[in-house]
């Protein structure tokens, strides 16, 4: 009912941020890099430390390289959060996909291994979609549960292939660790991926339904939308994306582990929330989430420089999510 003329300035500023989160986020990112440079002179601009180069392409490349898998998992969170959901199984799915791919490559060859890895992500996603869309379990509980089951399956699977050894497909290593003109090769995968997500959100009917479902599910029903179809497709897509991110991460880390990508879960939620996506649905930006992922990486470097312990970091991320969400509720008034 309110009009923009009578709103207090804080509310207007909040709205401005909500509508165009990318620009202020880029400013925040830039300021944080400046602070980082002050904390450790020369880390970003080697010339100040007496080395060559105005800006370290190595540092920038590294920043981008490690932000890519995070930004891909953040896509899962942005898409599901648009519908007021969340996907807490992405960390496990990425881990499963990486592990399956590495172990099957030695047994069946690279091609089938990649396919099976992607299929495993799809299966978990479909299970989530059925639970959320048909049975209407809260997405948080559902994805947590499937994540737990998937972890159990991974442990059983590990027993089965324990003697097979593992092999990391060469093209994944190239994508994960190689560089072209100083920039990580992961961008060859990520740029088309990000373009696809942006296209999906902005120019397709499916994308429009995601926003609408999170904004007012009852109104989508009135318009003739069968919500379960959308949920099923959405969570299946999310599982698939997580599996792809897991493969890329495998190429980057070059080792297998039963909890490889699990630590990326919380930052992926945080990146989406920082990037201006509302956990209550109906509002979100993938461009924002990408910048959010970069910010988190810079923050991570800072916390490492400050020698902040692991626990403080985890608690800090939790508080960021809570604070940003609380501000959303305050400023937007609506959820």
């Amino acid at each position: 009912m309110s009009t923009s003329t009578t709103d207090p300035p804080l509310l207007r500023a909040g709205r401005l941020f909500r509508d165009n989160p990318v620009i202020p986020l880029l400013i925040v990112l830039f300021l944080m890099i400046v602070v980082l440079e002050v904390m450790r002179p020369g880390i970003v601009t080697p010339i100040r430390a007496g080395r060559d180069g105005l800006i370290s392409t190595f540092w920038v490349g590294n920043l981008i390289k490690f932000a890519i898998p995070l930004a891909m998992l953040a896509a899962c969170q942005v898409l599901t959060m648009l519908t007021a959901g969340i996907d807490l199984s992405v960390g496990v799915v990425a881990t499963v996909s990486a592990f399956v791919c590495a172990t099957l490559s030695t047994l069946w060859g690279v091609g089938p291994a990649v396919l099976v890895a992607l299929a495993s992500g799809l299966v978990v996603g479909l299970a989530n979609g059925i639970g959320v869309g048909h049975v209407r379990v809260h997405p948080l509980i559902m994805t947590l549960g499937t994540g737990l089951i998937a972890t159990g399956c991974l442990q059983v699977y590990q027993r089965l292939v324990i003697n097979a050894g593992s092999e990391i497909p060469g093209f994944l290593v190239m994508l994960g660790t190689g560089r072209t003109a100083g920039m990580p090769n992961g961008l060859f995968l990520f740029v088309p991926f990000a373009a696809f997500i942006l296209w999906l959100m902005r120019y397709t009917g499916f994308g429009r339904l995601l926003f609408a479902l999170g904004s007012n599910e009852n109104a989508t029903k009135l318009s003739g939308v069968r919500a379960w179809q959308v949920h099923l497709a959405l969570y299946a897509l999310s599982g698939l994306i997580a599996a792809i991110a897991g493969l890329l991460y495998l190429g980057m880390i070059r080792q297998t582990s039963l909890s490889l990508a699990n630590p990326l879960l919380l930052p992926s939620v945080a990146a989406a929330v920082i990037g201006g996506t509302s956990i209550f649905g109906g509002r979100g930006s993938y461009a924002g989430a990408i910048v959010g992922a970069l910010i988190l990486r810079v923050l991570d470097t800072m916390l490492t420089l400050l020698q902040m312990p692991e626990g403080a970091r985890t608690a800090f991320f939790g508080l960021i999510i809570l604070a940003v969400t609380a501000i959303h509720v305050r400023i937007a008034g609506t959820r």
Binding site: H138, L148, G152, R159, P309, E310, R313, T314, A315, G318
Partner: protein, 313 residues
């Protein structure tokens, strides 16, 4: 009489199911006896407390995703404190810490007006981080009497101490509260928040109270974890989904207002006994995890479906 039966039919059938499962266990492994029962009861301790806490917040109409993290905080606090000071004051400090953490969860929900599920998701990470800050790697020590306290039998052979402790702690906290105005208010708010408000219930304080009780149970859970392992372990265990599943299986409706604590605790023992049976059948422990996870997800899905059908009618 018939009304009492009808009202408690769910809890009664759970009890019957539990007895049946125990009989099955005995059938599979004839040597299963008092010591087997004792180890089941011991392993069930942290699950029982997590479930009791979760049940209280589900009854008030919320959910607390941070139970496992709060238990971890309490476990490491106990392990660190008991290394340095007498056991009893340390125990009291840990219980107070649990109560405080729960109350903070509740207060944040009331003050920020952010839904329970989101607040407690964020707090899951905050408490997890706090546990790591208190104790970075597993360590510390637990008072001997605490470790001994949950082992063996009490009074007569066959009554596990762990079972007695579960019953005693839950009864000492919940039974007095249940009949007070706070207890009634918890049911009232979960059942119909508007009607509760109109009946003069202070909705905000009731929520803070319920989450505080949940925190207190988590403190018991953390203490039992420390007693089980003898040290403090800062990484949260698998108690979240297990407690939600036990609460749903125990007849507490997601959405609030219905059920008690007896049903969920019986459900905990049912889920534990199923695990024992699978182990006795020589099923790979990892496969057991999968089966258990599937059962828990299925229980929650079924519970949600039933609640929705009830709600739409």
């Amino acid at each position: 009489m018939t009304r009492a039966v009808r009202k408690h039919i769910w809890v009664l059938s759970l009890a019957v199911l539990l007895v049946l499962l125990l009989a099955v266990t005995k059938l599979i492994q004839p040597s299963f006896g008092a010591s087997g029962l004792e180890s089941v009861a011991r392993a069930a301790l942290p699950f029982a407390f997590a479930t009791a806490g979760m049940a209280v917040v589900v009854i008030v109409g919320g959910i607390d995703l941070s139970v496992a993290s709060m238990m971890a905080v309490c476990a490491v606090t106990a392990a660190v404190l008991m290394e340095r000071m007498a056991g009893v004051p340390a125990l009291i400090i840990v219980l107070a810490a649990g109560l405080l953490m729960g109350a903070i969860n509740g207060a944040l929900i009331v003050l920020t007006r952010v839904p329970d599920i989101v607040v407690t998701l964020a707090m899951l990470f905050v408490w997890e981080g706090a546990a790591l800050l208190i104790l970075e790697t597993p360590g510390g020590a637990v008072a001997d009497w605490l470790e001994a306290g949950i082992r063996g039998s009490f009074l007569f052979y066959g009554l596990p101490k762990a079972l007695l402790i579960t019953a005693l702690c839950v009864a000492l906290v919940w039974v007095p509260i249940r009949r007070t105005k706070l207890g009634l208010s918890i049911y009232a708010v979960g059942s119909d928040e508007l009607a509760a408000f109109r009946s003069g219930v202070s909705v905000g304080w009731t929520k803070v109270g319920a989450y505080g009780i949940c925190g207190l149970f988590c403190a018991f859970g953390g203490l039992s974890l420390a007693a089980l392992t003898g040290i403090g372990e800062p990484v949260p265990g698998p108690y979240l989904l297990a407690s939600v599943a036990a609460v749903v299986l125990g007849g507490v409706v997601l959405g609030g207002g219905k059920g008690g604590l007896l049903g969920p605790i019986l459900a905990v023992f049912i889920l534990r006994i199923i695990r024992t049976i699978l182990t006795l059948l020589a099923v790979d422990p990892n496969v057991t995890t999968i089966i258990e996870g599937t059962i828990m997800v299925a229980v929650v899905m079924l519970g949600t479906a039933v609640t929705r059908r009830g709600g739409s009618q």
